[in-house]
């Protein structure tokens, strides 16, 4: 089964690699991400599979917006000087000679990698120790959550910091004028006119929010967690934008809130793990896990809401 999935996986990747038309690259990339997510699930890591599924949905949307800009720009210039037209004029043999050094270089690197890869057994000492001790050390029933919230909390803090930096960088690098932030007189979203879509999404939206909350609060029991729940909550806000077609949430306040939540994550982490307050005050570890996950989820929801707002609402409207 895994072999079949991997063959499908590599085929879809080759589809992505060989395609020249940008819209189709994005669609094939969506297929590739779906197969990757199922492969992660078969490898026994439901957390990573859920994260990959959510991420691929968002990445595909971002790329689609990007493609829209690309075609708009090309229509403005008239696509004469592009590689797609130029490639047809170069003969095949000349093209092959041109890519030969790159082919040899990467094939050589692949050979080196396979030659030098260690062939012996991997030590399972660390895995056995984590699996045997995580219930008494950190708590909860999910070992992956226990590791990224207990043993390797530095990694999670670093990752949260990187996400904050990325969001701030995105919101400062892309174009915006003052009017786009407050939002007035923008174009309407496409589904806004369809009463059937609006009615259905009104019913579905609370279910999405409930699902996000479920992912937050059952992190100690099953797969899921702050990151995946944050994606679900962000998609709730996106659905809200799609239904009512309003831009009433001020972005600057959301950025400020994200920074505050990041400070909260740092404070909770320092108090709980590095100063040992959880053990000292006999707080049940479930409370610590749920607090951290709600904070991380809020931060991720804020980040993805800002990114979506940035790309869809403002970049398209301007």
């Amino acid at each position: 089964m895994l072999l079949f999935l991997l063959i499908l996986w590599i085929l879809s990747a080759v589809l992505v690699l060989l395609e020249q038309r940008p819209y189709r690259i994005v669609i094939y990339f969506g297929i590739f991400s779906l197969i990757t997510s199922v492969a992660y699930l078969f490898l026994g890591s439901p957390d990573v599979a859920m994260a990959e599924a959510g991420i691929s949905a968002f990445t595909t949307i971002f790329f689609l917006v990007c493609m829209e800009r690309y075609y708009a720009a090309r229509r403005k210039v008239g696509a004469q000087a592009d590689s797609e037209t130029r490639a047809n004029t170069v003969p095949v043999r000349k093209r092959f000679v041109r890519i030969l050094p790159a082919l040899l270089f990467s094939a050589g690197l692949l050979g080196l990698f396979i030659w030098f890869i260690p062939t012996g057994e991997i030590s399972t000492h660390l895995r056995d120790q984590y699996l045997a001790l995580f219930i008494s050390d950190v708590g909860g029933e999910n070992a992956a959550t226990a590791i990224y919230l207990g043993y390797r909390l530095y990694d999670t803090l670093f990752e949260a910091l990187i996400l904050v930096i990325a969001v701030v960088a995105v919101s400062h690098m892309s174009w915006f004028d003052g009017t786009a932030m407050t939002g007035s007189g923008r174009r309407r979203a496409e589904i806004g006119h369809s009463s059937m879509a609006v009615f259905t999404m009104r019913i579905i939206c609370p279910i999405i929010l409930l699902f996000g909350a479920y992912l937050f609060f059952t992190v100690h029991l099953t797969a899921g967690g702050g990151f995946q729940g944050g994606l679900a909550v962000a998609s709730f806000f996106i659905c809200r934008y799609l239904i009512y077609d309003i831009y009433d949430i001020p972005i600057k306040k959301v950025i400020k809130m994200e920074e505050l939540v990041f400070i909260g994550i740092t404070i909770v982490a320092v108090l709980a793990i590095f100063l040992g307050v959880v053990e000292f005050a006999q707080i049940p570890p479930v409370i610590y896990l749920n607090t951290m996950n709600v904070l991380i989820g809020m931060k991720v929801a804020c980040s993805f809401f800002i990114l979506f707002y940035r790309y869809i609402a403002i970049e398209r409207a301007s």
């Binding site: 819209y23 496409e190 589904i191 369809s194 059937m196 879509a197 999404m201 019913i203 579905i204």
Partner: protein, 106 residues
């Protein structure tokens, strides 16, 4: 018990068959609107029959309740997705009878 097992396998096979018909249809038609019609059949009929088979196979428990939730969400959302795709394609000027060169342009 055996009858239920056989019935579940029949349902699962029917779901896979519906999906197969859908995929064949995707390659058969080369216009946008027939393709949307066929693709929405994969989403709704195929997946629903497959999930019904899985529920029968597993017996009635808490797991079946989760499957029921998935069925409800799919039943509501998948036709909606097809509707929005077709509607926005129609609104953005995608004619019903497009020539093949226009389709190839992305």
């Amino acid at each position: 018990m055996d009858i239920l097992y056989i019935l579940s396998y029949v349902l699962m096979g029917a779901g896979v068959a519906f999906m197969l018909f859908g995929v064949v249809g995707l390659f058969k038609y080369n216009r946008f609107f027939p393709r949307i019609l066929v693709a929405s059949k994969i989403d709704t009929v195929g997946v629903l029959t497959l999930i019904a088979g899985v529920a029968l196979r597993h017996g009635f428990s808490f797991f079946t309740g989760k499957l029921l939730l998935i069925v409800i969400v799919m039943l509501v959302l998948n036709p909606l997705v097809a509707h929005i795709l077709a509607r926005s394609a129609y609104l953005s000027g995608f004619e019903m009878e497009t020539s093949e060169e226009e389709e190839e342009q992305d």
